[in-house]
Amino acid sequence: MLKKMTPGNFNWFLHSMLFYHTRHVIAKQEEKASRIINTDGDGDGDGDDDDDYM
């Protein structure tokens, strides 16, 4: 697909794809980080529950 593009279209298409790729990678990292925070939070919650049961 890229081989058939004019230089103007090629530049813009590639730049857009790299931009979207970067945004996806960053979004995934943020999602991963928030999941870790939530898991930690849940872990604390579980701990509290355990304390209650005890």
Partner: protein, 677 residues
């Protein structure tokens, strides 16, 4: 024989050849009753305080579930022995339970005042609402039995055509936003008979004959459309600029086709995730959505898909840069992409990656001492050479290391954390001007070989190098070089191309008609000889696209290299992207880092730009193969020295058995290559 067929049979045959839409489901019309009758029914059966939204919810719940209503109705009649009649059966009770769960569990918003009393059980509420829903279904005519109790047929899906909202495409701004206009109101400028009626694709549904309205400020004469604003240029008569609105709800993608942002976003995401071309997406959309809707203009074209991609990507990238793209009036789509790259492309630097830092691409600084300067003998690599001693551990406190200010092996250690980037290239690219040392865009991409300047100076001349004769009409060579031109034409025929493709796809296949051409392979870490073409019969392609990535995969910048992935080109690219000392990474991993280091030392850029801040390292594969015979590579480019000379490239970790081990601190395989494969 056919001519003897009777006329009615001819008519039947004629109709059978008409295009049909067999896959389209049949629909029943929307319930046809007066509002007064419906209103009276609601007042009689439901709470006096019932809200409009709850009434509409119930109405659409009934029209959305014809299958359930058929099942319910069938159980209300007995057709055989042992078949029990159930008026309030579990089908309608399930629907009642779902409605109550969505509206109000207690039923206080639904039940009529006469049906409510203190202590009413949940079961009774469900049954009461179920009875009301059954009555509602009968009132709406959503029944499968007639008054005599005879079965008609199962209910068909209900068509919403009759209650579709009227769509109008109009400007988003309700007043003029040009400074100095004092927020004037906008005037609708088009006469009623001239208002364009277009096709709108909204939520993947085609709406036809949608009016497009344009507003104008009577003071500054700016035209406000739904997706752009057109304003006159200051001090320029009859010249206008178009500002693409990032917040546009609908985008114009064709002369009379508009799409919503859901559509344009889907195009971009398909191109990103599936590597789909505009043509492939066109086929997908037309097959999935276009053909299933009965409309005259149900097919989208490749150009409209490409337009949707360009318009959406422009708005997304402009929004991330906190700006809006302004271009000249009446530009062709190819001109718009050029302008967009000039304004928003930032020379290949990806704005989304600006100031990016994460745990994968940065680590806390570990101080080095003079004892662990790399030596010619420290060639072992962590994670590769298993029999080496583990690297000595350093203090990991970045604060203490910074305050100590020890600048071992010339590096400025007064900054933390440690960053690395990975540089890699992929061999592909568009065509460029064939003239020597010119990589400008072709003026004609379909068969042209020169840029605008060289087309003017050399377009009419013979395309053989250093020949100034006029070319013969219909060919690209003069009389003297016709032989070369004919040879070129023969070699570049379609049949020859398929032959070459076979050779490249099956290199091991040794067939008698395939010429055996012994070639020496070019190792990636050796200087590349520049190929000089003898003629300009075809336009060459850019040699490669080089990317700078963070180890986590975030792309920092990209560039096209016209002729070679040479160390000089890479150094120039790196200096352009990391132009300040603060922006420079601590480590740059490239598969030909030793070559780059050698070139940088030779041309002075090492001392000028890199020595204080950065080290060039190679990837592990390169290092294992190259450390034996290249002293500079062995000593300075080790990606993870096992002797502790570069503690920032090694981290302590646990293996599968839970034992302490050392691993490379950064992923050196990060690149965007996989996208192009």
């Amino acid at each position: 024989m056919l001519c003897y067929l009777p006329l009615p049979l001819w008519i039947v045959l004629g109709f059978s050849f008409l295009p049909t839409t067999a896959a389209l489901p049949e629909f029943s019309p929307f319930p046809d009753l007066t509002f007064l009758s419906f209103s009276k029914f609601i007042q009689t059966n439901f709470s006096a305080n019932i809200s409009l939204s709850t009434v509409l919810l119930m109405l659409f719940t009934m029209t959305e579930n014809p299958n359930l209503l058929s099942l319910h109705a069938r159980q209300q009649y007995s057709r055989g022995k042992g078949e029990n009649i159930s008026v309030v059966n579990s089908w309608i009770k399930s629907l009642s339970w779902a409605v109550l769960a969505k509206v109000d569990g207690s039923g206080s918003k639904l039940l009529h005042e006469s049906d409510r009393y203190e202590g009413i059980s949940e079961k009774l509420i469900v049954s009461t609402v179920a009875i009301k829903l059954d009555k509602l279904a009968q009132h709406l005519g959503l029944i499968i039995y007639n008054k005599k109790g005879h079965l008609k047929s199962a209910l068909k899906p209900i068509s919403y055509k009759a209650i579709e909202a009227v769509h109008i495409i109009c400007p988003e701004s309700y007043q003029c936003v040009t400074s100095g206009c004092g927020f004037r109101s906008l005037v609708q400028i088009t006469r009623q008979r001239d208002i364009p009626l277009v096709t709108l694709v909204k939520n993947n549904t085609i709406h036809e004959n949608v009016p497009v309205l344009t507003g104008r400020c009577s003071n500054c004469t700016t035209l406000y459309s739904a997706d752009h604003e057109r304003s006159p240029e200051i001090n320029e008569e009859n010249k206008f600029t178009n500002l693409y609105l990032n917040s546009a709800k609908y985008i114009k993608v064709g002369q009379s086709i508009w799409v919503d942002r859901l559509f344009s976003n889907a195009v971009v995401n398909a191109m990103y995730s599936f590597h789909a071309s505009a043509s492939a997406y066109m086929q997908f959309w037309n097959n999935s959505f276009g053909k299933t809707q009965q409309h005259a203009a149900r097919q989208l074209s490749r150009r409209q898909i490409w337009q949707a991609f360009v318009q959406e990507s422009i708005r997304t990238i402009a929004a991330s840069a906190d700006t809006e793209l302004v271009v000249g009036d009446n530009l062709a789509i190819d001109e718009i992409t050029k302008e967009a790259f000039l304004v928003l492309g930032e020379n290949g630097v990806i704005r989304a990656a600006d100031q990016h830092a994460c745990s994968e691409c940065t680590h806390d600084y570990i101080a080095t001492t003079s004892d662990n300067t790399p030596t010619a003998h420290s060639a072992a690599v962590v994670g590769v050479d298993e029999d080496v001693e583990q690297p000595p551990q350093q203090a990991t406190d970045s604060g203490s290391s910074s305050s100590s200010g020890s600048t071992d092996d010339g590096m400025d250690v007064d900054k933390a954390p440690v960053k690395m980037v990975v540089v890699d290239g992929t061999c592909f690219g568009p065509k460029h001007c064939a003239y020597e040392n010119c990589s400008d865009d072709l003026i004609n991409y379909r068969g042209g070989v020169f840029c605008a300047i060289h087309e003017q100076t050399h377009g009419a001349k013979c395309h053989v190098r250093n020949c100034d004769n006029e070319k013969i009409r219909g060919t690209q060579a003069c009389q003297q070089h016709q032989q070369q031109w004919k040879k070129y034409v023969t070699q570049h025929k379609r049949q020859s191309a398929s032959g070459f493709r076979r050779i490249t796809q099956r290199p091991a296949e040794n067939l008698p008609w395939i010429s055996t051409n012994e070639r020496t392979e070019q190792p990636h870490d050796e200087p590349i000889e520049e190929v000089e073409y003898k003629n300009y019969f075809s336009a060459p392609r850019f040699y490669c696209v080089e990317t700078i990535c963070a180890p986590c995969g975030v792309v920092i910048a990209w560039a096209k290299f016209p002729k070679a992935e040479s160390p000089t080109n890479i150094l120039a690219f790196l200096e352009k992207v990391f132009h300040t000392e603060e922006s420079k990474p601590d480590y740059i991993c490239i598969d030909k880092a030793c070559q780059i280091l050698r070139t940088a030392l030779r041309n002075g850029s090492w001392e000028r730009a890199w020595e204080k801040t950065t080290r060039f390292i190679v990837d592990a594969y390169h290092y294992i193969n190259h450390r034996e015979d290249d002293e500079l590579c062995k000593k300075w480019c080790n990606p993870a020295p096992a002797d502790g000379s570069a503690p920032n490239l090694v981290v302590e970790a646990k293996d599968k058995q839970g034992k302490s081990c050392f691993r490379r601190a950064f992923n050196t395989q990060a690149s965007f290559d996989t996208y192009f494969i």
